[in-house]
Every structure is written in C-alpha cells, then in structure tokens.
Amino acid sequence: MTDVAETCVQENPVERYLRMDRIPHIWCPGCGIGTTVNCFARAIEQADVDLEKLAIVSGIGCTGRVAGYLNFDSFHTTHGRAIPFATGLKLANPDLKVVVYSGDGDLVAIGGNHFIHAARRNADLTVICVNNFNYAMTGGQAAPTTPLDAMGTTAPYGVCERPFNLPFLAKSCGAVYVARWTTYHVRQITKAMVEAMNKDGFSFVEIISPCPTLYERRNRLGSGLDRMKWFKENSVIKNGSDTRNIDIAYQQPIICGKFVDIDRPSLLEVTEAKIGDIRGKQRWADVSRRQKKSIEQTE
C-alpha cells in the first residue's frame, strides 16, 4: 500500500521551484510560456547559481507573470522597466544572480531603450524574452516583433512595419551571449538558459512561443499543438549564424541556435576594477599627505 502511494505521489521535479500555492496559473492551454518556465526550472538545477541568491525580475504582460510563479525572490515591476529595476538590484548587491524574464513587448517596445543600454554597458543580467509576436496580455495587439503582414487587433489589415530581429539587436549592442529557440526545442532552451546564466555580463535568450489564444487564432495558425508541429518543421538550426541574416518573416522558417558566446568584461568587472584603482590612488594620496604632514611637523 505505502509503496504504491509513494511511487504515485512522487513530486514533480520542478515543483520545488514553483509557488505551488499559486497554481493553477493564469496561462491558457497551449500557451508556450509555461514550457519555458519548465525549462527554466530545469536550467537552474544545472546552472552555477546559488538559489538563495537568485532573483527574478519581470515586467508586465502574460510573460511578466513568470516572476510570480517562480519560488525565488521575485519582482513583478512596471511595464518595460524590468531591466533597469534589475540593474539597480544587481549593482546594489553583486552577490545576487539576477534574471529578467519578460515578454517581447515589455522588453523591446516600451523597454527597448533599457534593453539596448543594458547590452551596451554589459550589465550582469540574464534576459529571457518570450516572443509570442504580440502583446498578449492586452488582447493581441501588434508589437515591434509581429512579422510584417501578420495580423493583430490593432493591425486588422496586417502589420506594415518591419519587426525587430532581436538576436541582431542584442548582439550589435554588445551582448556576450545570444541564442534563439522555439518552445519546441525544450532541451536546447534549457541548455541556453544554463549557458546564459553562467556568463558574466549581458546574456540574452529569445524563445519563440505560441500564443494560441490571440496571435495564432487571429492569424489562423491553429492550436498550440499545431504551432509546435510548425516550429518543428520550420525551424532551422544554424549555430553561429551571422545575426544580420536571421530576420523573422511571416510564416517563413525560423533560424534558431546559439549565435554569440564571447567574453567581454562585464559592467561589474569594469566598475570594480576602476573603483579599486580609485581607492588605491586615494589611499596613496592619503599616505603621501600624511607623510608630507609628518615631514612638515619634523621640520
């Protein structure tokens, strides 16, 4: 009896990283956000992070709710401001491992300026972007990631703007780690998250994810499952691709892979080195002033 009970009530391996008192979550059936959270829970087991020092910062949106479901110090901030909030958190306590987990609209529309500056200054953050090609939380409006010609509630005749190519944006601003995967690639996502978290500096993982309720429905792209099949058949893995050539076009193959993995001194490394120098010089100044004083006194 007990044996059977014990085998049946085995804990789900990711449960301990979730706030189970908040389950059921708000995400729709077939949504890809939960898949990414599952990958994240597995990634933190493998990554070189102290879980007591892990902080998750989200902005606003369906993806922005991730912070509330992960059982770590977690911050659900304002729309677009997850990155600067996280920057302050990390700089004020460099012992923390700070992960920003948010949506495409949050990170690169309203938060776009913060995104490019965090990459430029190589802020010690891992940024995970769930790109579902739209503003989901507010009902499926077009975003700066919606492919040209795709529909959104505010683009009823199709989008007229060219979308961002996020890996190219991140790379050109200075990110030290850049990868893109779809929610079909759960093992690769997990690995990318591990690698990203193990880097110092600005690391970025884009995850193309279905939003069956809004984006897929409006564009008649089928269910979450249909979309996974589409991802499977239409994603092309090209590690090391030149990020200039990996734009996403409507219903065209999606190029996935790890595109950037370089080392460049992070914001904290540079700051700490400089401050060490300044302090050193200051100490010298103090010492020489004192010596001068004692010379004056002896004279």
Partner: protein, 385 residues
C-alpha cells in the same frame, strides 16, 4: 543608530545647496544613486559620483529618468539606501516608478530641484511649480512625504530626515528643492558622524517559513526582507495580499491601498513639520516654503515696520500638509498670504484647510526669479485692511 562615518564630511564648509544635498544623502547612509543629468540638479550627482567610490557607494548614470527611478526601486530591495535626483522634466518621467515604490513599499528618496515649467520651461531658472506633482504625480491613490529646504544647510540636514522618514514608513520621499536653494552657496556645518542619528532598514526577525512580505499584524508598516537572504518573497505593483501575491478584487484593494494611505494619514501629527515666526497674535500669516520663505522673511519685516501684525508659518514638510494648524489659525487671523513661485499650488491647500474661516491670498510669481519683497508687502497690506 549612528551613521557610517565614511559618508560624513565633518566640518564647516562653503557649499551650494546641490552639493549640500549630496553630502546629506551620503551622511544619511545612502549608498546607491541612479540618475540622469538635468539642470539645475546635476551637481548633486556630480558630487556623489566623485565621492562614492571612497565609501563603497554605487552610482550609475542611467539612460533616462524612467530607468533611474526603476533602478533605485530595484536597488532598495537589497536593503541599500537609495536616491535619485532630477528636475521637472525628469520628475515627470519618474512618476511611473514612484508609484511602484509606493505600492511595493520601497524606501527611497527623490530629489527634485525645481525649475520653471511646464515642459522644458526655464532650465536654469527657479520655479516651485512641482509641489502638486510631488503629491499627486503618479496615478492612483497613495500618500507620501515631501520636504522643502530653504538653504544649503537645510538641504544637508533635511536630507537625513528624508532618508529616515522613507525607512520608517517604507515610502518614496520627495525632496523638493528649487533652483535658488540648489545653486546658492552658504556655510554648511556638517556634524560628527556620531551626532547623526539614522534609521536603518527594519529587517524582519522572522524565519523565511513565518515571514509574509506584507503582513502588518494590525500595524502600518510591514517588516522588510532583503533579496538574497533566503526569504524567497514576491512583490508586485499589482494590488496584493499579505503574501505579496496579486489579488484582483475590491476587498484586496481596500485592504492593500487603505493601509498605504493611512500609514501616513494616521501618523500625520508626528510627521508634519513647520516653523512659526510671530504667528501668535498675528492678523496676517504668511505660509511659505523653500526660497520664497527667505524672500517673505524680508517682506514680513517690512510690513511689521509699517505696523501690521504679521507672522510666518514656513513649511519644512509640505506633504502631509499641516491641516490642523491651518484650520486652528484660520479661526484667529484676518487672512493668510501665500507667496509661491507658481500660479497657485500650496495656496489651494491653505484655502481647503481654512474652510472659509479666513481667506488665503495668493502672491504669484510665474518662475524665472523670486518675488520682490514689495509685492508680498503689498499683498499683506491689502489683506490687513
């Protein structure tokens, strides 16, 4: 608790208000500052960015004021005392995350060195027209505290109070300087570190198992857990329960937001701060703050020479407003005279609190300069008739 001597530049100095404000912040134990340059406030961060490395502080120049304010709120969750500094246009951008600080109950201090507005206005010249914005600038209902120094010495002294109040109530505190106070240079005496009393972050003594980030047990202010201390707490700008979890209901809104409001309203008697000069027996009472208090001082003396019984009530803390005191005076005097470098902001509060018992006469200056004392004297004489 006494402050960390590393941040205290003890001695008598000749400093401008901006530098004094920066020194005050460092003496108060501030160790994280994020900012974006804007006249006439920039000297504050210039001062701090130069001195911070020597005391283990972190300064970062962010990409804009949205980011500066967000970074400050984030940094405060490590238990670090945090500051940002700006002027009108940047203050407008900070409103979003001032609201977040109010909702998450995050201690921090925001300096606004006021210049003429609206919009880009008069970048290098004085204004006092952000007083209502300081109170009401972010959306939704919240309460906070705003101080208004009238001299470099006060810019130093009140900065310590600003940080202490932000810790006691876990709120964003507004430090409403103006260009004149920011740029005037005067003697500033900085005491020894062991003479500076500071309020440390009230860290919870509960275990992670017992701890709930927004439980107050009938009090007003929850205990604080720092990120990285193993509490694994959640906080959000959404309406939330004691767990910090979002709950979308009128009941939760009432329980959450009522406390944000009443932690200040119910303690207003302890918080309000003003200075009286010859108010007892006066017929006319000037209500003033910041640089205008110093101009009004001269006007008061001139009017007294002409035989008018005039006193002055100088607001040191503008928000919460000294409602009771205004009402009490209103029953005894002929009129209030309120000179401001704006087209009428704090005068509205005086009128509201006087409840019609005495009129409150606005003496307006649109900005770019301060009043001529004669203009104020004229208003005093008119009101005394």
């Amino acid at each position: 608790m006494k402050t960390d001597p590393a941040g205290v530049l003890t001695g008598a100095h000749y400093l401008d208000g901006d530098f004094a404000c920066g020194e005050g912040a460092m003496a108060a134990g501030c160790r994280f500052v994020a900012g974006y340059p804007i006249t006439p406030s920039t000297e504050v961060v210039e001062r701090i960015s130069r001195r911070f490395p020597m005391m283990g502080g972190t300064f970062i120049q962010m990409e804009d004021e949205l980011a500066s304010m967000a970074a400050v709120v984030g940094a405060s969750w490590t238990g670090t005392k945090c500051l940002t500094v700006t002027s009108g246009p940047g203050f407008s951008l900070m409103m979003e995350n001032i609201g977040l600080a109010a909702m998450m109950e995050t201690p921090c201090v925001v300096v606004d060195v006021q210049r003429g507005g609206p919009s880009t206005g008069l970048p290098t010249m004085v204004g006092q027209a952000d007083m209502m914005q300081a109170r009401w600038g972010s959306h939704g209902d919240y309460e906070l505290i705003a101080l208004c120094p009238q001299s470099p010495q006060e810019a130093f002294d009140l900065m310590i109070d600003a940080f202490n109040l932000s810790e006691i109530y876990r709120i964003p505190v507004m430090f409403m300087m103006d260009e004149c106070v920011g740029h005037m240079t005067e003697k500033v005496v900085i005491p020894e570190a062991d003479q500076i009393e500071i309020v440390p972050r009230k860290l919870t003594s509960q275990t992670p198992e017992e701890f709930l980030p927004y439980r107050v047990n009938g009090g007003y202010v929850p205990e604080f857990a720092r990120a990285g201390d193993g509490y694994r707490f959640h906080t959000t700008g959404l309406t939330h329960n004691e767990h910090g979890y979002p709950v979308m209901s009128a009941e939760c809104q009432e329980q959450n937001v009522r406390r944000l409001i009443y932690k200040i309203r119910d303690n207003a008697d302890q918080i309000v701060r003003f200075e009286d000069d010859g108010v007892d027996g006066a017929d006319i009472v000037l209500v003033t703050y910041g640089i205008t208090a110093r101009v009004a001082q001269m006007a008061m003396e001139m009017a007294r020479e002409q035989g008018v019984k005039v006193g002055m009530m100088r607001l040191i803390i503008a928000w919460p407003f000294p409602e009771k005191r205004i009402k009490e005076l209103a029953g005894k005097i002929k009129a209030f005279v309120v000179p401001e470098v704006n087209y009428g902001q704090m005068v509205l509060e005086v009128q509201r609190c006087a409840e019609g018992l005495a009129p409150a006469v606005l003496v307006s200056h649109g900005g770019g300069g301060v009043h001529e004392p004669e203009t104020i004297v004229e208003a005093i004489m008119g009101a005394a008739k």
